[in-house]
Symmetry: C2
Subunit: 348 residues, 2 copies
């Protein structure tokens, strides 16, 4: 089985400002203080299903050097630079065409670069099942996360069954719900968070794009004679922007009727907020999570402190305190949805 | 009248960490956000009583370049470098001997570099009276600050009268009192804070040092043939350490019986804590004082924020938030006496 892994790493992670900035976003930083960036952790997780020579990264031009530095074992020609962000559908269409040209029978996993998975055993097992399924059918398999709360920040996958660890048919993709709908989803039991992880045979996605996203497919088709030649960069820079700016969910998933899901808890998190980061860390007896070896805490509870330091924090309960390169945030965790607003006000 | 001003600028200002650090202490930074460092403000204040050519700065070797940079109009040979800090008596004895050698009739004001005075009119007037007094008598005049609280962090001057704006006899110098004693001082009305500002004729201080601090006087005497020669630095570096490490208060003031005080409120502060800095600043409608033009505050009250930024602070009441070069402090103002402890724990 010829398995390839495509890591999408173009995001700017503005909700973890100031640790994450457009200069060095979330996926490239050691968010959890474990000595590895999120994209390095992502690669480690998928090394159980594929060799490093079959990994691909799609990112923007400005992050190419960072990717090469952090992931020196990924072949340089597998690091693809989008001239500009056009959402996930063009990104995936480009990467999959590149793979298809050299590996026409490849099975492909597409994954974000900035999520974490605590239960890597269960996750790998699910990946194995999804790959086995897509290698013998023209179906798409997506990964569903069993929800533990009525989250309104994610899209959902409605499955034909509640059972975890098995590949089951998808009935519908659902966009981010309101609170009441999310509560219904949670109680129904057959609704899973859409983690943005997809598994397919490269032939399948090519066919699906041709059918459901003919515009994007046409642009990729027109550009593809330049792929793997010295003209690729120039052609891409001229024509990639002609691709419609649209997500793969909207362009393909919501339109195709041959989609399956494999669900599990996996201890998954997209670390989409400072609270989510804290929830994924070991805390001290007072409930504080600390990243940074030059941090002094005194009379603090339920805080997350993320700083290169030196930093002293006294007398806080339920706050995020983050610092990077002199940029600094102090905010109640209950108000953390405002982080993006604050960084915007500061021109960040 | 030949008036000279000696500014003592050797301190490291650890209570305003991280804005103030041993690399760039308090007196050299723009603590109040007014566009000038405290030592620059100190010079401005005394320009009413003397020309810049009569200013002297005593500091440690490591700050000499900073002094030259911030105060380019002070003659370079008036910037005196102590090889090591030996408290105020040796520092003053050295500077006054240098002055005496060239200006044997000089009237001298000695002042710290890191205090502020809001009422510069009243302060200048008091300085003028003190200088007039010392130019016609062999007395020392010190400046007393009318206390507005039972402060236990300062020494006190007990005067023979309560009247402000007049030169009156000092009955005794008192070391930092306990709370109860400080309350008594406050209610008595003839006790003033010792601001560490002294006025004397250079002949007077020489004579007082000879009588009350013969050890230090002897070391200075032995070194003085090298002063104003190329050997000064070498001699100083070899012998300055032989001076007893002692304050001018202990070495002279407490022993002499010919000391006077001129008192006033002056809006004086030694900015010895973040609260003191806040008290000296203009606050917004929510009681927040901000230094830094890239600071966003939201739902904050009674805070002082001192940062080069960009910094976002949300949901704090009664805190100091300070940042400099990636060093950071968040602390309740009610616990600010612990700042020195925190910076120590961080090896600062």
């Amino acid at each position: 089985m010829d398995t390839h892994v495509v890591i999408m790493a173009g995001g700017i992670g503005s909700r973890l400002w100031p640790a994450s900035t457009p200069e060095m976003p979330k996926q490239f930083i050691d968010v959890l203080g474990v000595g590895k960036s999120l994209i390095q952790m992502t690669v480690d997780r998928f090394l159980r299903v594929s060799g490093i020579g079959n990994f691909w990264v799609v990112t923007s031009e400005r992050y190419v050097d960072t990717v090469k530095e952090q992931l020196p074992d990924i072949p340089a020609e597998h690091i693809l630079a989008e001239p500009e962000p056009r959402n996930t559908a063009p990104c995936i269409a480009y990467a999959c065409r590149k793979i298809a040209m050299r590996h026409p029978d490849a099975n492909v996993i597409v994954t974000p670069s900035d999520a974490v998975v605590a239960d890597t055993e269960a996750f790998s097992s699910a990946m194995g099942k999804a790959l086995a399924f897509t290698s013998s059918s023209a179906s798409i398999v997506t990964v569903g996360i069993v929800p533990d709360r009525p989250e309104t920040g994610y899209g959902y996958v409605c499955a034909s069954g509640k059972e975890s660890g098995k590949v089951v048919k998808v009935l519908a993709f659902k966009e981010k719900p309101d609170r009441k709908t999310a509560e219904t989803y949670l109680s129904e039991g057959n609704y899973f968070w859409n983690a943005g992880i997809f598994v397919w045979n490269v032939k399948t996605i090519e066919e699906q794009l041709r059918m459901h996203a003919p515009g994007i497919y046409g642009v990729i088709d027109a550009m593809s004679p330049s792929f793997y030649t010295e003209k690729e960069k120039e052609v891409l820079s001229e024509h990639f922007k002609e691709c419609e700016k649209v997500s793969i969910d909207y362009a393909v998933m919501e339109k195709s009727d041959d989609i399956y899901v494999i669900s599990g808890e996996f201890g998954w998190s997209d670390l989409g907020s400072w609270s989510a980061v804290k929830d994924h860390m070991v805390t001290d007896a007072d409930g504080n999570a600390v990243v940074g070896d030059r941090v002094v805490l005194s009379e603090c509870r339920n805080c997350i402190v993320h700083a290169s330091g030196p930093v002293a924090v006294e007398g806080l309960d339920g706050y995020v305190v983050a610092e990077k390169n002199g940029k600094m945030l102090v905010c109640r965790l209950s108000e953390e949805q405002r982080v993006k607003e604050f960084s915007g006000m500061l021109g960040q």
